[in-house]
C-alpha cells in the first residue's frame, strides 16, 4: 500500500522527521556506538584479550549453556501451549492464558527471589535436594530455572493467537484422510506455524542471553562458576574495569543485532502464515 502524500508544509515535515531521527540517535545510536567505542578504546588487541580472559570465556560458555537449555524447553512448551490453547476450548483456558503472561508482569528480581525461597537450603524442597547432593540456588540449575521462567511467554505468545486464527479445519481434514496424531502434527500443524515458531525462538534466545535480574538473584555471582555474560559485565563494571566490561557488553550487543536481523527476516514470513 502506498502512503498518502502529506499535506503538511515542508518545514513541519522536516521538523517532525528530524525530531524522530534525533530521538533515535539520542536514545539508541549514541549508546550503541558508545559500547563499541569503549570496547575498542585500547585497540583490537585489548578487546581480544578482554573477551578471551578465562572468566569472560566461562561466562560466555555458561550463557550459551543456559540458552541451549532454556530455549528448547520453551520452544516445546510454547508449541504445546499454542496447540492446546489455540486449537481447543476447555475449562480453565483463560486462566492458563493469563498465567503464561505472568513472567511479563512479575519483576525479574521477584522471579529470582521466588526460586531462592523455593529451592534455597532453608526450604523443605531445597533441603531435600541438598541432602541428595543437588544444588539449585547459587548454581547452574537455578540460573537455568530463572531463565526458563523469564522467557516463558515468548514462544507461546507468538503461537497461541496464530494457531487460534488458523483453526482446526486442516487438522480435521488430515484426520478424515487417515492421518494419525503425530503425522498430522508434523505434516500439517507444525509447517503452518514454523515461521512464527522461529520468530518466537529468536525473541526467546535474545532474552535468555541477556537476562540479568532474575539470574542475578539466583546465581550468587561466583566468578568463573555462576556468572553469565550480563553478570560478568556488571562485575567488571563495578570494579571500574570499564574496557573489559564494554568488551563483554559488545558481545551481548552483537547477539542483539543478530536477533534483530533474524527478527526482521522472520517477521516477513510469519506474516504469510496468518489466514
Amino acid at each position: 500500500m502506498k502512503a498518502p502524500r502529506s499535506r503538511e508544509p515542508r518545514a513541519v515535515r522536516l521538523l517532525l522527521i528530524g525530531l524522530a531521527f534525533a530521538t533515535i540517535a539520542l536514545f539508541l545510536l549514541v549508546p550503541l556506538a558508545a559500547v563499541f567505542v569503549e570496547a575498542f578504546r585500547n585497540g583490537a588487541g585489548a578487546w581480544l584479550s578482554a573477551v578471551s580472559d578465562p572468566d569472560a570465556r566461562h561466562a560466555v560458555k555458561l550463557t550459551l549453556l543456559v540458552a541451549a537449555i532454556a530455549v528448547p524447553v520453551n520452544a516445546v512448551f510454547g508449541l504445546a501451549a499454542g496447540w492446546a490453547l489455540g486449537k481447543f476450548r476447555f475449562p480453565g483456558r483463560s486462566l492458563v492464558l493469563t498465567l503464561i503472561d505472568l513472567p511479563f508482569a512479575v519483576s525479574p528480581i521477584v522471579a529470582g527471589l521466588v526460586f531462592v525461597l523455593a529451592f534455597g537450603r532453608s526450604s523443605p524442597l531445597g533441603g531435600w535436594l541438598t541432602r541428595h547432593g543437588i544444588e539449585v540456588v547459587f548454581a547452574v540449575p537455578g540460573i537455568v530455572l530463572a531463565t526458563v521462567f523469564v522467557t516463558f511467554p515468548f514462544v507461546a505468545r507468538e503461537l497461541v493467537p496464530l494457531m487460534q486464527s488458523q483453526g482446526t479445519d486442516e487438522e480435521e481434514a488430515a484426520r478424515v484422510l487417515g492421518a494419525g496424531f503425530f503425522t498430522t502434527f508434523f505434516r500439517v500443524t507444525l509447517p503452518n506455524v514454523k515461521w512464527a515458531l522461529l520468530y518466537g525462538i529468536v525473541l526467546c534466545t535474545a532474552r535468555a542471553v541477556g537476562e540479568f535480574g532474575a539470574v542475578s538473584v539466583v546465581s550468587g555471582h561466583v566468578r568463573g562458576v555462576t556468572n553469565t555474560l550480563p553478570l560478568h559485565v556488571e562485575a567488571l563494571y563495578n570494579e571500574y574495569a570499564f574496557q573489559g566490561a564494554f568488551a563483554a557488553a559488545s558481545l551481548l550487543t552483537l547477539v542483539a543485532f543478530a536477533a534483530m536481523l533474524a527478527k526482521a527476516f522472520l517477521s516477513r514470513h510469519a506474516g504469510e502464515e496468518a489466514p
Partner: protein
Amino acid sequence: MSIEVRSISKSFGSFLALDDVSLRVGDGEFVALLGPSGSGKTSLLRIIAGLEEPDRGTVHFHGEDATQRDARERRVGFVFQHYALFRRMSVFENVAFGLRVKSRAERPPESEVKRRVTELLKLVQLDWLGDRLPSELSGGQRQRVALARALAVEPKVLLLDEPFGSLDARVRQELRRWLRRLHDEIHLTSLFVTHDQEEALEVADRVVLLDRGKIVQDGTPEELFEKPASPFVLDFLGSVNIFHGRVASGRAHLGPLSVDYPEHPQAESAPASGYARSWEIDLARDGGETGGFLATVRHVSVSGAVVRLELTPDDGAPLKVEISRERFEALGPAPGERLRVTPRKVRVFVGEPGRE
C-alpha cells in the same frame, strides 16, 4: 455403501442441535441435507464423519455399527465448507496426502501415487495446476482440489459440507451441475449439506429437510414441492403468501380468500392458514368474475424472465406474485391499478400459525 443414522441426539451446552434424528442413505444415492442455519445439518454430517460424537444414537456404514470408530478409520471423503486445503502444500501434495499417510504396508509406491493424483486432477480438470499453492487458486478451483483430495483415498461415502457456500452464484451453478454429472459417473454414496433450497432440489435424488434439530420432511424434490408436510417446508422452499383465517363445514375462509376444505367437515370452526406460492397465482383485469379477490398493484420489478409484483388486497397483508414476462406484457399492469388475484393452488393447514 449405505449410511444409516439411528436416533442421533447431540447438544452443545444447552443448545439441542439434533433431536432423535434417524436417516438412511442408500448405496449410490445422492441426498441433500437441507435446512436453515442452526438446524443441525452440519452437526449431523460431522457426526457421520466421526468428527463429532453423538450424545445418543448410532452411525452405521453398510449395516455395520461405526459409532466407536475414529474418523481416520471410517473411510469417508469429507469436503469442508472452507475447503480446508493444506496451505503449505502444493495442489498435488494436497491430493496425495491421503495416500502418503497410509501405513507402510498399504502405502502405494511413488509411481502409483503420481498416477492416481494426476488421474484425479484430470477428473476435476485441474491437472495443469498441480504445482500451485492453494492460495494461488480461485474459490471454485480450491473446491475441486478439496474434492479430488477427498476422493484420493477411495472413500466409501462422500460427505460435503456446504460445498458451494462460499462461491459466487455463477461458479456455484456450474460446479453443482458438474458435481451431479460426476456422481452419475462414479455413483458414490453422497450426502451434502446446504441451506440453499434451489441447490438441493437441483442436484439431489432426495432431499432431507431439517428444522431445529429434527427432520421435517424426507422425499424427492417433487414430493417436497407437491406435498409439503408442513407450512415450514412450504415456506422454506420458496416465496409463499400466507392467508390466515378459519375452517368450518368443509370450507376455509382465509381473509380475502375462500376455498373448499373437505378435510374439515365439522361445523365447529378451527384456526387455519392458507399458503399460495407466489408463482401459483393468476392476475387478470377485473371482469366481474367471482373467483379470487381484488388487489391494488404497489410495485413491479422486472428481472429477467420473471416479473415480480407486490399487491395489497383491500383487507390483508401485501402479496408477492411472480408471473412470466409474456403474461406481464400481455397484461401491462401499472402501479395503482386494481387487478383480480386468483391463486391456482392454495394449501390449507389447520392449527395456529406456527413460526410466521
